[in-house]
């Protein structure tokens, strides 16, 4: 029983990070129909910026804020300068561009910050809470991770539901031409959307880095998990991304906790889940009625 609780709590915590990362992918997919494979590298870059500041004596929180802001700027600039040229064109062009960015940014990180493993601090403890006589695998850091993701999601929902900019962003996502005719500055909305997505992505990167080692490619597996979570929920649905992330986190945690030598099977399991979803429900769990090209 205790193991079940531990495995579940670990799964939920990791699932929250996958959810955040999937949400970043979904935000971009919805508005520009592009899967941003560079999301992971972009997040890793901001984590290295944060680490450099922390090593220079900054507090964790100040470094976090700077990292998120630089994530926003990076996302916005990349959309405006690079991605804008392939938006609305053949899908393969966009895929190649984001894959190229993925490699280029990762190489850039290695050039600027080096490619060695460096430990990333966490503002909270890594020792599990005491419940009765046992220590459970739920740490103050886990609590922080879950809280940070929930707050971010709440803010995003508020932005999209209750502000004029959010309204315009959704309109741009659902029909660019029509939105433009109604006076919405669609281009700006897309730039803003990429910026916001990059903030959410880099938050996921910073959260998963806490208490771990980071290196230029440390986000690679998170890209796979985030992508599986997004497809699981239906690439068009933000709620789906969150639910997909949680389901994936739990599933992978159970595999690694209960299957013998399961930790080696985690990546494979993610791909099995991806394949099953694509075969059984290609639109994802929360797909809207319109068919989506796989």
């Amino acid at each position: 029983m205790q193991q079940f609780i531990n495995v579940t709590l670990t799964g939920l915590t990791e699932g929250m990070v996958y959810a955040a990362f999937a949400l970043a992918l979904v935000l971009i997919w919805r508005s520009t129909r592009i899967v941003n494979f560079a999301q992971g590298s972009m997040a890793a870059a901001t984590a290295f910026i944060a680490l450099a500041l922390i090593q220079a004596g900054w507090s964790y929180w100040a470094a976090l804020v700077v990292a998120l802001v630089s994530g926003f700027v990076m996302g916005a600039v990349i959309e405006r300068v690079v991605v804008r040229r392939v938006e609305g064109g053949p899908e393969l062009n966009a895929v190649i561009v984001t894959l190229g960015l993925f490699v280029a940014i990762q190489a850039g990180i290695a050039i600027v910050f080096g490619s060695s493993f460096q430990s990333f601090p966490t503002p909270f403890g890594l020792q599990g809470f005491q419940v009765g006589d046992n220590r459970i695998a739920f740490t103050p850091t886990s609590l922080y991770v879950i809280g940070a993701v929930l707050v971010t999601m709440g803010l995003l929902v508020a932005l999209f539901r209750f502000t004029r900019v959010g309204l315009a962003m959704r309109a741009s996502a659902f029909g660019q031409e029509v939105a433009r005719l109604l006076g919405v500055r669609v281009g700006r909305m897309l730039t803003l959307g990429w910026g916001l997505a990059a903030v959410v992505g880099s938050l996921a990167g910073l959260l998963i880095a806490g208490g771990e080692f980071i290196y230029p490619a440390y986000m690679d597996s998170l890209i796979v998990f985030g992508f599986v979570a997004a497809v699981l929920g239906g690439l068009d649905s933000p709620i789906g991304a969150v639910v997909g992330g949680l389901i994936l986190g739990l599933a992978l945690s159970y595999v690694s906790g209960y299957v013998p030598r399961g930790s080696a099977l985690v990546n494979v399991s993610a791909l099995v889940i991806l394949m099953v979803v694509l075969l059984v429900r290609p639109g994802g769990l929360f797909a809207s009625s319109t068919a989506r090209r796989a």
């Binding site: 004029r164 309109a171 996502a173 109604l182 700006r188």
Partner: protein, 300 residues
């Protein structure tokens, strides 16, 4: 379509003041002039030397057989197509390099041939996007959800709700457009165009897919609208066009073949020839008429 308040004359409103759309007369400067417009795509001439004037507060009809260039002219008027020759003036000043997103700011609204509603947004939210240009909170303050942006959002919501009420579609406010009957969707699309309180309304086949009685209501609505804005109407249904338009321009194969009041246009032999000379189109019109008569709806 619900009671639309009758226009009451009010002192000349300017482009900048904050208008309450339902109580004003048409802006006397709101005249759209298109002079010598030509458009060619590649080597194909879609429009050649077409001129028309939409007078303030008038309904101007644009008719012609399929492929006559009506939609192209429409697209020129809203910046989607750049003319290869000719000039357009709006409110007395030349409009060059018009881009679609500037349209709303110029006081021009357009409906689309289909309905073009945003699928993932409620009816009310759809209409709110149309009222977008009235909201004044800046980018940053809206992002940070500052108080100004909050009251701004509330005003947007109220304005959209009023526009829906005007067209008798209030009860659909919280529904998503996908599940609504086509005529209701068209009405919502019209509300979305009207909520911006335009000086010029471009209506692209507003009657397509409507049954006879709905078309009649639409005609009355357009007449009411003309009291407070100019309307440029592209439409296939001749009876509707003849009933509501003050002036009509007839296009055929990209050329202007006739212009004038409905009576003048109807009496013009060139128009009869254009319509009767084109067998295919007559059949299509007849099919459309009989479909409408049976209450059948077609989607674009």
């Amino acid at each position: 379509m619900g009671p639309l308040a009758q226009p009451t004359p009010s002192a000349g409103s300017t482009a900048t003041d904050h208008r309450q759309g339902r109580d004003r007369s048409p802006d006397p400067a709101a005249r759209l002039e298109m002079t010598g417009i030509s458009v060619s795509f590649g080597g194909v001439t879609a429009l050649s030397d077409v001129s028309l004037v939409v007078e303030p507060g008038q309904v101007h009809g644009l008719i012609g057989p399929n492929g006559a260039g009506k939609t192209t002219l429409f697209n020129v008027a809203c910046g989607l197509v750049r003319p290869s020759a000719g000039e357009m003036t709006w409110r007395g000043s030349a409009v060059r390099k018009l881009r679609p997103h500037q349209l709303a700011g110029l006081g021009i609204s357009r409906t689309l041939q289909g309905v073009g509603l945003f699928a993932g947004m409620t009816v009310l939210e759809n209409v709110m996007v149309g009222a977008h240009r009235h909201a004044r909170a800046g980018f940053a303050s809206a992002l940070l959800a500052l108080p100004r942006s909050d009251s701004d959002e509330r005003e947007l919501r109220a304005r959209a709700a009023a526009a829906l009420a005007d067209l008798g579609a209030s009860r659909y406010a919280d529904r998503y457009p996908g599940g609504l009957p086509y005529p209701v969707q068209k009405r919502v699309a019209l509300a979305r165009a009207l909520v911006a309180d335009p000086d010029l309304l471009l209506l692209d086949e507003p009657a397509s897919g409507l049954a006879e009685d709905e078309m009649h209501e639409l005609g009355e609505l357009i007449r009411t609208l003309s009291g407070r804005m100019s309307v440029l109407l592209v439409e296939h249904h001749m009876d509707l066009v003849m009933r509501v338009c003050d002036q009509i321009t007839v296009l055929d194969s990209g050329r202007q073949i006739s212009a004038g009041t409905p009576a003048e246009v109807q009496a013009d032999p060139a128009v009869t020839e254009a319509y009767l000379g084109d067998d295919v189109d007559v059949e299509a019109d007849a099919a459309e008429l009989s479909a409408a008569g049976e209450g059948g709806r077609h989607r674009d």
